[in-house]
Symmetry: C2
Subunit: 419 residues, 2 copies
């Protein structure tokens, strides 16, 4: 019998209990002995009955939990509280499965740097049900990963997919997403790209085998996209996605999370709804994409329980331990030559367009196309597509045009990735 | 030092040697000791110099190879000859990595039924660089897999993608694919769906945890598709792909390889060129798709070398051993209710269409749509789309219409999967 202790009976914890019950015979057949829940620590004692768990295995104290001496600790309670329990479990040679992204972001080096740190399993912390951590640990080890592209946030992808299909406003779709439970009441963390960048740090570290510092990575959100941007994209063969990108560049990496236009024929362009995708280019394998549900009770619990089985089979996370405990901090370049889509408003006056073009030219920015909508109310909206330039250059040009009074209000710009 | 013996220096073997050389420092850092090629058996001694291998580690005899006592045997020579060497290696507690699909198809039970059968690694035998076997073994174990859909043959997918894009004839695109090296001189094995069905058997066995008998599975090829079929598909929101399908059905499975129309919005519809994809529905994780290169020197060698690292880390293939050594033969249903696309020619006579519709009706087949092209040369081409019906029913209806003289020449039919 393999004794399983569970910390947390929230959404994911409940899913874990259900899978362990529903598929217990299969796990016993695979492992040669049953996985048995011997202790549950949670504040939610009211869920015991609903989940068919005996009161005798319940506790609300970390101490009692530790005394129950589980072989594997499953941490699905979130927050910082379980940190010491995790460390003690590793110290006493137990395995730990966690879905706690926040805790990993802060303490990965403490946990994995532990002498038994290879027995920390954390598949569920990244892209829910997509088995991406285990792919890095097992099926992809022959490769040096040169590029990582991710659609890492289901909320954003749901909103962008709806805006693409229905031509609706951001605010309208966000409200609908909140009604449907695809977006939180305070959606900042998701729609500003922060959650996606957290995952970029985790998978970027595994990809480029060093530590990717969150603070060095720019995150641009999706709140300023307008229905017209989607119209322009679709007419020009592009699809708008929130893309997290990491690429080897010399000894460092280029990395960031940005709303981007990508070619509509690219497999990432067809990742719809609340789905996630991880796209990798390896020096040997070439292009690979993994697509699946990035969140939700069952997909996340699928990752936790698969890790539980891997823990029972001692499938050590050797690469993770190496990267997170020994990996040097990678230098991050947050800017590089890319094409930009720029949408801005100008006064409707003769000669403005030529002065705008001059302004870009003075920063060495050459233009691929210019589209001007019919002027309205004394203003003209213009869309510029640049040839490759840096975000820094672009900012300088726009600052100078703004101080010359050639731009009214805010400018919206977005990278074009010609994948 | 981990001693690696390689059987075969063909395309894949050469790729394996190159990766081991290029990334030796990385593998040593990950494993704590180097992977060293200590013996190579091959008929291709002429490749030693090109690959930078010393003549001293070369042999052309299985006996000498065995005496070299490698820790891990890498079998990339193909054919049946290495079977005894593989069995002897497993017997003496060594690990074996193989890319040999044909050998696995015949001897999987012998190899994996061995008491050390969990140390046979075979990622490269299925979908090249896509790390799908390791996903079944590690990241997906929480799931009961209910459905498997595959684009398993790169040659077919290349041909179908070209026919979709260019509106060309099958024969024309095949000739081009042969020129480019995407198709063999004798393409039967690929274009008739046989290779795809081999992979369906392998991944179907892992998915449904029983043995999937090749002989019970229908394979329909892509040779009879016409440019008009692609036109109809595109006008109706479908994309044509060669799909291998397996689905749980009672205690058995529904399985087959067929050219199919799938909705153009489905992620599988965007798998272009020579790429492969594996699409899975798990009871917990929901939909998942893996996309990547299914063949070629480096992608296949990526799978072999990743297996080599997994072997060095003793990541046993426990599920594979269980399924292939103990799994019962699954009963296969090769027919089920699906919509069909039917293209046929009739004599251009008054009343024929109504008699055709009657004929379908007599077999209980109801029609969703009928498209008739302008008649030419006394013949009319008609496309019928049925509501769901079985292939068996359809065959009966067509046989009866043919014997009534209402159909001229062969009928082409294709399943529509409304995924």
């Amino acid at each position: 019998m393999i004794k399983v202790g569970i910390l947390g009976l929230g959404t994911v914890g409940g899913g874990v209990v259900k899978i362990l019950q529903e598929r217990s015979a299969d796990f016993e057949a695979l492992l040669g002995e049953p996985l048995v829940i011997t202790c549950v620590m949670s504040r939610r004692s009211h869920r015991l009955e609903e989940l068919g768990l005996s009161k005798e295995i319940y506790t609300d104290s970390f101490e009692t939990f530790q005394k129950s001496n589980p072989d594997i600790v499953v941490e699905v309670m979130g927050g910082d509280a379980p940190a010491e329990t995790i460390l003690k479990a590793l110290e006493s040679g137990k395995k730990v499965v966690t879905a706690n992204k926040a805790l990993l972001a802060n303490r990965a080096r403490d946990f994995m740097g532990h002498s038994k740190g290879e027995f920390l399993f954390y598949e569920a912390s990244c892209c829910g049900g997509i088995p991406i951590i285990s792919a890095y640990e097992d099926g992809l080890t022959a490769n040096r990963i040169d590029r990582l592209l991710g659609i890492f946030n289901g909320t954003c992808n749901y909103i962008l997919s709806e805006m693409t299909q229905k031509g609706s406003d951001f605010a309208e779709v966000l409200a609908e997403a909140q009604r449907l439970g695809y977006a939180e009441a305070d959606p900042t963390f998701d729609v500003e790209g922060i959650d996606a960048t957290h995952k970029l740090c985790l998978l970027g570290s595994l990809s480029f085998q060093g530590s990717v510092p969150f603070d060095a990575i720019p995150s641009q959100g999706i709140t300023r996209l307008s229905p017209d941007d989607f119209k322009w994209a679709s007419q020009n063969g592009y699809t708008i996605k929130l893309i997290s990108i990491g690429e080897r560049e010399g000894e460092g990496i280029f990395a960031g999370t940005f709303p981007c236009m990508i070619p509509s024929g690219h497999p990432m362009a067809h990742v719809g709804g609340a789905f996630n995708a991880v796209y990798i280019e390896g020096d040997q394998v070439g292009e690979l994409m993994f697509y699946g549900a990035g969140a939700g009770e069952r997909p996340t619990a699928s990752a936790v329980v698969s890790d539980l089985v891997a823990a029972a089979q001692s499938r050590a996370r050797v690469l993770s331990k190496k990267v997170f405990s020994e990996g040097k901090s990678l230098s991050v370049h947050s800017d590089r030559d890319l094409q930009f889509f720029i949408r801005l408003k100008t006064p409707d006056e003769v000669g403005v367009l030529s002065r705008l073009c001059d302004g870009f030219g003075q920063q060495g920015i050459s233009l691929r196309s210019v589209d001007q909508a019919p002027p309205f109310d004394g203003q003209a909206e213009i869309v510029f597509i640049t040839h490759p330039t840096t975000g820094g250059n672009l900012e300088k040009a726009l600052d100078s045009l703004q101080s010359d009074g050639l731009i009214l209000g805010d400018v919206f710009s977005m990278r074009i990735l010609d994948l």
